[in-house]
Subunit: 227 residues, 2 copies
Amino acid sequence: MDHSFAEADRRDAAPDMPARTIDRILSAAARLFAARGMAGVGLREITAEAGVNLAAVNYHFGSKEKLLEALFLRRAQPITAERMRLLALCAEGPGRPPMLEQLLEAFLRPAFSLGLEAGVDGATFGRLRARLAVESEELYRRILAQAFNPSTRAFLEAIVQTLPEVPRAEVEWRFHFMLGTMIYTMADSGRIQSITDGRFGTCDVETALAKLLRFLGAGFRAATPDG
Amino acid sequence: MDHSFAEADRRDAAPDMPARTIDRILSAAARLFAARGMAGVGLREITAEAGVNLAAVNYHFGSKEKLLEALFLRRAQPITAERMRLLALCAEGPGRPPMLEQLLEAFLRPAFSLGLEAGVDGATFGRLRARLAVESEELYRRILAQAFNPSTRAFLEAIVQTLPEVPRAEVEWRFHFMLGTMIYTMADSGRIQSITDGRFGTCDVETALAKLLRFLGAGFRAATPDG
DNA sequence: GTCTATACGATGATAGAC
DNA sequence: GTCTATCATCGTATAGAC
């Protein structure tokens, strides 16, 4: 039930072919899950693509859902680490963007740059995350919270402090709205192409980030009726 | 393949027990899908709850996914109809909110009031919609586009016209962001409770709408660098 | 400890009798 | 239209080989 993945990061000399069974499963699963969804791909296809036996998944991870959880935690960790690193670099100063925009960028950029464009199995991590975010099952929400809540709370506190004129409850709502725009944009649901007749995609991280920062900055600073 | 549901709205005298097989399936499926997700409920459970034969679903709808599509279109239509009705009522005038806020409310309110709080099977329509929105499979995106694009485009055009100082491309991005906040908030993913230690839920439609309007209004009006 | 082969119950889908 | 019977496939579990 409680397998240890502590040594799973060790790789062999061959760079293009992970030697360990666990890594090959994770890699194949990440590619297939993100491409066709959790329900759209079977365990047999994953193990075939990974070149391992069918039973290996349940042996190493316990279940298909546990495989998803391991996969998610593995990719979420670099995002939260980079977020905290960038958060520590935020500071007021002449010639720097306003503090709020620094915080928003520090929060958003790792999710986009590490979630959307890194390698073959990172290209669709955003979609996987989005799918988890709107899932009603308790398990998925637990995975998300466990992976992201610590860094998320740190940013919420920082934003509350930079917006003293906005009540804390209001900031929390707006933070929630920000998560929606972030996740929906990362999922790149194709709606924006559909609405704009294909003129836009969200593949360009820098463009999406710039648009997001302008939109969210204004939203967070919006005046409140009771001061 | 192309079954007609034109007469499906006709009900018999008994108000608490839909007579037609199709209606009974739709009603049972809506309740179960929304409660436990598309993957979490089987065809046998749906047909048992509806009191019909297992094969009836595939006979009347073609597949489990087609059943989902029919269910979704049936609930989406009142939303788009109400949106268009409210859109026609929007007008500049003394004592009225700014045009942008009128448009946003006309777009958002039907999705929340008809999607979140109507009856037993409407309570979780938002979650079902959110799940469709972030799905990568072409089928689901087709369902969503088909259900909502016409009214969505009408609102996009209206918003573009009320914001002459914002480039059209920027408005399209911001409209996309709005869809993200709306869908994420409707899905009520539990993240806001998780972040704020349970102080908030999104069950109160009027509160959520008020917060959304303030946030989105400011976001849409945000200044752009090139005028 | 890892890995393999194989079997089990349940699922969505389908064919054909009524 | 509605039924029963049946199918391939799914996730999972386990016995046993290295």
